[in-house]
Amino acid sequence: MPKDLLLEIGLEEVPARFVRGAMEQLKEKTEKWLADTRLGYKEVKAYATPRRLAVLVAGLAEKQEDINEEVKGPARKIALDETGGWSKAALGFARSQGADPDSLFFRELGGVEYVYAKKSSIGAETSSLLPDALPALITSMTFPKNMRWGSYDLRFVRPIRWLVALYGSDIVPFEITGVATGNVSRGHRFLGEDTVVEQPSVYVDRLRAQHVIADIEERRKAIMEGIRSLSEERGWNIAVKDDLLEEVLFLVETPTVLTGSFDPSFLHIPQEVLITSMREHQRYFPVLDAEGRLQPHFVTVRNGDRLSLDVVAKGNEKVLRARLSDAKFFYEEDKKLKIEDASAKLENIVYHEELGTVADKVRRIRAISDRITQHLRADEEVRTAVSRTADICKFDLVSQMVYEFPELQGIMGEDYARKAGERESVARGINEHYSPRNAGDRPAQSLVGAIVGIADKIDTIAGCFSIGIIPTGSQDPYALRRQAAGIVSTLLAHDMELTLTDLFKIVLEVHAERGLKREAFDITKEMQEFFALRIKNVLAELDVRYDVIDAVLAAGSEDVRRTVLRAKALQDVTAEGRKAEFRPAVEAFNRVANLAAKADSRQVDPGLFADAAETRLYEAWQQAHGKFVKQYNEVRMEDALAALSALSEPVAAFFEAVMVMAEDEAVRRNRLALLGLIADDVKTFADFSKLAG
């Protein structure tokens, strides 16, 4: 009869950010062991709280499946010796399979006779396997950070304090770091007591009776329900951020949602400051009204029940009061800060030993920004706003508030700049030049913020590349990948007529003034490769097919905007349903491109045309080329592709009518040159040979 298996690892509080991963790892390792060991089961469920990781295997078979298989050995002619008896090879094979030589037999496979052994073994009892398997499973777990404790050698996420291991109602005996298994689990640290788990199936209920909700979904629902009923009761909009909810979920075993208030006079501090202080320092959920304005309340989740909830609320209010008083103090102090004085202080902050101070960086951002606005032929208003924004984009780094809350950089700058009388576009630009701030964030919305942001990011990337800091594998300490992705998404969002080649040229000119230790050519080449990978990711995120991505990137990616639109156009015409219609064009382009590789000039002499099909193709190309160039420049990529596709019929007719590799050299070169002209346009768009059939 199958029985259930329970393994619970009791721990001192595991860091909230590791719990989910650890739980999933335990489940996967268990499933893998069951499969490798040929043990049948119905279902594996995993549970986790800050103090425990558990896995429950329902309906685990009592013994391994028996093995009955036939294993192929050497061919007959090797298996028999001169006398017709088993050769050494055959005897060795039998030994390796644990088979009696007398039981070997022959079978034909693909016309050759081979010797075979019957291999069978009786499955072992599950209960005999578990005492070795379970501790091995536990000690094989890995975590982002490990520790040792007491006098033990094991490295684990936190000290192991108890172990429950049950197969049916029997304890699976083993010991790790002096902790022996049993059938006693521990309840909530303050509300519960030790509890006997008679068999795995009662685990969740026994814990619930001891104020531990072991199932994470059940716990999440309890928290969400508490928040929902509070919002309903008070008419609040409680801002639940997923990452904070996830953290809170793994800080509590019994969640009770509670609320407290703070003095409304703190509300004159910018909302972002209050929210950051509540979220980052205290793990509170902020309360908003229907219009998204912050209210003088907070919501938190206690690891316990409703006993003395008012005491807990008052305690939390006291802590928050001290925190917000600090914030208020910083805010008042920062108001005394003059932008020019603050910027001057940046001369003393080292940005990077080899790349100078933050003030040096700001000067480069200014120079790069100005060159970008020139390149874009931006109007006077944008030009002056960009210059000013670039000059003061980092001044808030010396404010007390940003020192305390680094994630408020730019946000405080915007507030302080506005209060100091800076133009709206400048204030906003200071904040937005950091956008996108993280993977899911949107790029800068204003053109000013976008330009200064691109300048800042490309300065960082080129600076790092110039001194050999280039991301490899998981090594990317300056988050250069995110910065490059930010440039790409910003260029796209603003349809900016700025190619990467132009941008690299601008940034390296500016960096040349501080003296480059490496060749600009090498840095450019590395940046091109680096950005090509980012663009590849952007295209993948836009659900462009991989073959389309490869085809498009083979034609270059220095013009980000056109690259993405080329991909979209190509994706459209090669989608199911339209694919067949487009296939002749692909065939034509590929044939053209193959032969054009042999072309050594682009000089076409219509006088050498021997066939009407040649003249027709030449004229078709002249027409298509004009359209293609115009539409490409106007960023109408679908039309540009259509213009090229119009050549597929005349190309086909051309190949039908003439022999390209003609005997006459002049005729041959003339035909190749014509194909070269067409191929040049085609290759500007994509390498169509990379498309999947």
Binding site: L251, G304, N316
Partner: protein, 295 residues
Amino acid sequence: MNFQQMMLTLQQFWAEQNCIVVQPYDTEKGAGTMNPMTFLRTIGPEPWNVAYVEPSRRPADGRYGENPNRLYQHHQFQVIMKPSPDNIQELYLESLKRLGLDPAHHDIRFVEDNWEAPTLGAWGLGWEVWLDGMEITQFTYFQQVGGIDCHPVAVEITYGMERLASYIQQKENVFDLEWVQGVTYGDVFKQPEYEHSKYSFEVSDAAMLFQLFSTYESEAQRTMEQNLVFPAYDYVLKCSHVFNLLDARGAISVTERTGYMARVRNLARQVAATYLQERERLEFPLLKKGAEQHA
């Protein structure tokens, strides 16, 4: 419970757990961890259980006695147990009960916080303990001290006495805390807070301090060459304090800062290595003694 009763209660409690109770170390330091009773004794295989109050100076945190929460000098209650006992969390929670904090009526959580003291070449994993949202204790399993792996591992519990007291006594301002009946924290510390802040931020003589740093540094080196670990370490502590004074005075630029910290760290590492070597030469006396007691 007044401030004095809290200190006595904790001393009594940890004495009951077989910790030796020692007095604060007489050299300025930024944290109880820097006391040789922690920094040196957590190194090596010998068992060690100790508890003490440590007045800790952080010149840059001074606020002229005007800020209700920030101090030039605050008090830590420090516990070290090596090897870390299996029931250490329970012992700690029991100590809170002794202070009148019944966990059932509060929200107590262990929130991940990994501790690192770069100038000591030390790091550990553990938590900050939250009492109704307030951090009241650092709880750390030392993994390395002075660049040396800890084996066995010592656990360090550091209570922030002022914070804990402000909660227990329900006071908003640290200077209003009751030290004993009729005497407030302010009565004892307000004037030194003001004077030390003024000295650190406005009056200290940077040129003299720079000179002191170099003098202490070379004396630490010279003493270490004679394998005199404890006197050498005293000079390391002095270097560290002088560095903190210079830092508060704004006399050390950002670039120089890293350099000075590295100099302190190098000294600390050397002292740690020499300490281990000297204890080994003495055949780890406390290890032998522990074995005899258990025999």
